[in-house]
Point group: C2
Chain length 104, copies 2
């Protein structure tokens, strides 16, 4: 059973619109920073900072593959977040739109 502090910390991370959208994106597949920057309408440092918070908070994983750093969901150990994340709206359309271009 998680503590109130644990839950509120996790929810604080998810309660920001930009970060929640990132989570909704990563639900589909792992992505590198430039993918996310292209999909959300904001700057690279902004995304980098949000990713760092999600990473530090233990909600996502980071793995470098040559020059790209890929981020992916890491919420299997937080069952109390499962339903919220599972029920985020699909971002498939936005992802498809981007596919024609691609940041790399």
């Amino acid at each position: 059973m998680p503590t109130i502090d644990e839950v509120s910390d996790s929810l604080k991370l998810l309660s920001d619109k930009t970060r929640l959208t990132i989570m909704a994106l990563l639900r589909h597949k792992e992505m590198c920073v430039c993918d996310i920057v292209d999909l959300l309408n904001t700057t690279q440092p902004n995304i980098s900072q949000h990713l760092k918070k999600l990473r530090t908070g233990g909600l996502i994983n980071e793995t470098r593959r040559s020059q790209w750093i890929y981020y992916s969901l890491n919420v299997d150990d937080k069952p109390y977040l499962k339903q919220v994340i599972d029920q985020l709206p699909s971002m498939q359309d936005q992802i498809n739109e981007l596919k024609s271009q691609g940041c790399n």
Copy 2:
């Protein structure tokens, strides 16, 4: 399917420690303001303001019974919050402790 904005607004309400604790309390039973003030360690105006936010955000109901205003959970229309709220730690011990005194 809720929108990102809906979800992030709800999560913002839940992400505050005081408000999340209030929700954890109301999971057990409806309570009036003075009950909550006694259980959490803070002031009456602080609780009143948090209750107002939860109320405006549609997460709790308010009903007056003579001089007391009782608050209760109102999350049945938000399935994406169910698991988070269901898995909040039990507050039964704290509630029992208070029962011996009672604010009214």
